[in-house]
Symmetry: C2
Subunit: 312 residues, 2 copies
């Protein structure tokens, strides 16, 4: 991996029994691992190989971002069906490496095997954060304000469109959060450095589910303002997505965080809009208030990618 | 993971976006990742679930051992077919956790997904080694002696028996290196602490292939003495395996290392026999000398698990 030769954090990369990495003094190590399985997380007929590679790595980078950390290295385990064209693999790896380069992440190892069925990728991201400074899910307190970066629902809207069009391809530019989501690593780092966030998670499973994770780990509840939730604008006409996509749709990889009301949160961090969408409450429930002020309990619906919808 | 609650190296385990780990001061981080795929690395009809779980983790621990490192934590990505019984998963995890406990390795995270076909496991092992002390594959010098721990060929002989018996089950006790191999972590650490080894690798791909890796990375050749190669004793009668299994068979997870002739290598380290099997040479070739002193070039044959043989 010549392009990574100047990275002093990688002592030994591909070509030994283990990779050997150095972690900055006074830092703890962050580790996250995510499957990307054909038919579960992507479809070859819908997602160009570069997109699959990009999404693989973006998922892991978003987890690092959600801790306020910095990425060091990635490891790719890849199982390929025997009939797969080499050009698909090359384009997949190119998509992954392009994003890796942008975030100064070295591809430091992995495993290759023959797949019994479809393309199977497992990505490991290794990063670091100053000791004791990782932003966990468990620090939200009653009265904290709830914020989200960017827009929500764009990825779910893309999947809905892919299903309704019966596999016709979409233009990536019309659904950027689905095809080429930008992990919010710089925003996460800013929030950690400025000590602004009390709890944080990335919206991989959707707002309702990910906010429930924060509430559960913190032992609190939440009140969300429906009108404040930033809906993604998608398609040729850049129309806002349905509310349900913004509330329950996963794979947007935005950051959802809480902050003490005394903290001044910028309207935009590193060029990414930040929107206040509600408050942390004492109860254990998550309540959604609509534009008339009527409120209802919000049940997290989880996010099962497109598996369940894909098999009618 | 209550049983790991006292492990101060795991700051945050399962239940956040990333695991947060502390690495001992002055240590570098070791990372290795290995697929275990049904139909490629194991078969459910041959390998009880505990064995599959054990073998998953043993592969990674053996990589840590081969660097002279110590394991800290493991991450398991597991994709399961919908029809799989819960009891299989429980027994699989039990097999993995039993070995993890023995080596003080915490299960600190991972991912679970639905599998499109068969059980798919990807295991990540994270360990550490004092800065600059990892034993690489590239340190072998002409004149160094070549050693191997334990016995070779036991795993290949088990697979051969499984094929020839047409899927009848084998007793694990008759083929311990195949069913419950013991990673040589203590031996690797001893060699590193005593500064005995100039290069090291584990025999996951077989002696001929793994020695070729050392030779390639070190820019040297080797002369092996056929009679010195310790052949595994397997089956009810504990008969030595065929020479070809000992030379080319993979998945024994022994340590293969080189040492300067001035270093005194014990005949047994931490209860594991250590055998001198040859010398590092200046040429780039690997030569095998038989008991009559006749020699022939040894071609590494690689190790494709049982995939190629499994499909006639």
């Amino acid at each position: 991996m010549a392009q990574w030769g100047t990275d002093t954090r990688i002592i030994t990369g591909i070509g030994d029994d283990c990779a050997v990495l150095s972690v900055p003094a006074g830092h703890e190590v962050l580790v996250t691992t995510d499957f990307s399985l054909e038919g579960v997380h992507f479809r070859r007929e819908w997602h160009p190989p570069e997109v699959v590679g990009h999404r693989c790595l973006a998922r892991g980078l978003s987890d690092i971002a959600a801790m306020g950390g910095e990425a060091i290295a990635t490891f790719l385990s890849l199982a390929l069906p025997p009939a797969l064209r080499q050009s698909w693999v090359t384009r997949f790896v190119n998509g992954l490496l392009k994003l890796a380069k942008k975030y100064h992440v070295a591809l430091a190892g992995g495993d290759v095997a023959q797949s019994p069925s479809g393309v199977l990728a497992d990505i490991v991201l290794l990063g670091s954060v100053p000791r004791g400074k990782a932003i966990s899910r468990s620090g939200a307190r009653p009265g904290d304000q709830i914020y989200v970066t960017g827009e929500l629902g764009g990825s779910a809207a893309a999947l809905d469109e892919l299903f309704s069009r019966r596999n016709k391809k979409l233009r990536g530019a019309d659904y950027p959060r689905h095809f080429f989501s930008t992990p919010r690593v710089e925003v996460g780092r800013f929030l950690r450095e400025k000590k602004l966030a009390s709890a944080m998670i990335d919206t991989s499973d959707g707002l309702s589910t990910d906010l429930a994770h924060i509430c559960e780990e913190s032992g609190v509840g939440a009140l969300l303002q429906e009108v404040a939730i930033p809906r993604a604008r998608v398609g040729l006409k850049k129309e806002p997505v349905e509310l349900a996509f913004a509330i329950h749709g996963g794979e947007d990889y935005e950051l959802l965080f809480t902050a003490d009301p005394s903290r001044r949160i910028p309207l935009s961090i590193r060029g990414v809009p930040v929107t206040e969408i509600g408050r942390i409450t004492r109860g254990r429930r998550i309540v959604l208030a609509d534009f008339r002020g009527r409120s209802a309990i919000l049940q997290p619906q989880g996010w099962e990618h497109f598996r369940q919808r894909a098999q009618p």
